[in-house]
């Protein structure tokens, strides 16, 4: 959850701060526990601004993102997490795939 407020131009994304998650495991769990309506709302809010968000983030080297940019960066990673659900499956789950927890990310 974002403790730091988002940078000024992107404060409209504040209602979606629960998607600002640091690890792939958390982002995956968030997608799988969200309804398609929630996922679509997040996508609809962020996707039109994604280019501007990335342009903002790309002012900084990736390993030196300032604190207020960090949650924004996590939001973009969550967007990637849900993009197939929105653009392809219209469903939070992949069809005909193994149980997601069995596809284990080794951190």
């Amino acid at each position: 959850m974002a403790e730091v407020p988002l940078p000024e131009p992107f404060q409209s994304l504040e209602p979606f701060s629960a998607w600002a998650l640091a690890t792939e495991r958390e982002r995956r769990a968030k997608r799988l526990s969200s309804s398609m309506e929630e996922i679509q709302a997040f996508y609809d809010a962020l996707f039109p601004q994604l280019e501007a968000v990335v342009a903002y983030l790309d002012q900084f080297p990736l390993d030196q993102l300032p604190a207020e940019a960090q949650p924004l960066y996590y939001l973009t990673l969550s967007l990637v997490e849900v993009t197939s659900a929105v653009e392809l499956y219209h469903n939070p789950h992949i069809f005909e795939a193994i149980e997601p927890t069995r596809f284990r990310r080794v951190e």
Binding site: E24, F47, L50, E51, V54, L57, D58, F60, P61, L62, L65, Y73, T76, L77, L79, V80, E81, T83, S84, E87, L88, Y89, I94, F95, E96, A97, I98, P100, R102, F103, R104, R105, V106
Partner: protein, 397 residues
Amino acid sequence: MQAATENRRWSKEYPELGTGPVPAESCISPEYFELERERVFRRTWLNVGRVDDVPNAGDFFVRELAVCKTSILVIRGKDGVIRGFHNVCSHRSNKLVWEERGTCRGALACHFHSWGYNAQGQLTGVPDEENFHDLDKSKLGLSPVTTDVWEGFIFVHLGPQPQETLIDYLGGVAEQFKGATFHKRRLTHTYKVEEQANWKVALDAQNEAYHLPFQHRYSFPGMFVLKDNRYLRLSGVKLYNHHAVWSTTYNSESTPTPTGALMNQLNTATTNSRLPMLGDFDFFVIFPNFVILQFRGIEDDYYMTYNFWPLAVNRCIWEIKFHFPPAETAGQRLSQEYLKHRICDVLQEDAVAHETLQTGLNSRAKTHLILQDDEIQIRHFHTVLEDYMGFFNGRGH
């Protein structure tokens, strides 16, 4: 793009492989699996990691090799040399290191009686040493395992005396990758899937492109159906002594999704180096259980590896690793995350097939696998396997 119109072209190029069906018994027989332990996994070079896993002196990782009934410790010595050892204490054979990875600072101590070993595997400390009889520490180091490094990939050989050096074993594959800039990519993501499938069922299922337009119709709709190549026939097949590679070209006609289009723009170069590729996508099977997958990127290429680790006749671990150029910006990192995400969707579909295939094979309703010409690499794999096993030609039972 090479026209893919000629039927059965690969069998004309490699007539010695024949065209008949392949026995399915090798994937379901417990007896076969027991023989595989000795005849395949103790007679071949096995990839266990990369030099990046042990960047500094003292760094180590442990690889559980259930198929060889052993645990291997790979450690970089103070002299910079990467060595492999059986992960077994010289005192009474306790398992020495329990962590998956770490760094040896001073000594690795056995949990049982605290016998200590340095990063070169030498025994350095024995508590109450004076109470032993004729103990010669210099002769009681860890038991070494033949270990070698090729293009940054660490291999071990568990046979008493490897018949071929690693480079000879790799043969034409080593030639193909001479000077490849693998080291300019970084391991970014690792996944492990424990599957109810024989390791070869999982490997065979990945080892062709024929299934892509069908099995992955949800995750990549239309992507693999090309106007002049609607069954995604391969653009190249090269069969080596033990190993094989096949290649495909990308579908330039397909329209990316909105996110995909944006990610393509963000996918900019950071290494200024390409990988030595044969097509847009290359799948190298390095016998027995290691795969290098090369992907043509927009400005930079990236690669993945698979290791299929047998646990039992019908169980294996599929280990998946992504290696991308180091991302310098959030945009670059995001485009890599996107590629990884799309590929992982496909792999989660693949994993289902590994298990449904195994279920079907276990029923023994069918005795053979039927292979088309663009599955010749599977035929080749089973031919190499039989060369090691001699199961169906006499030495089997």
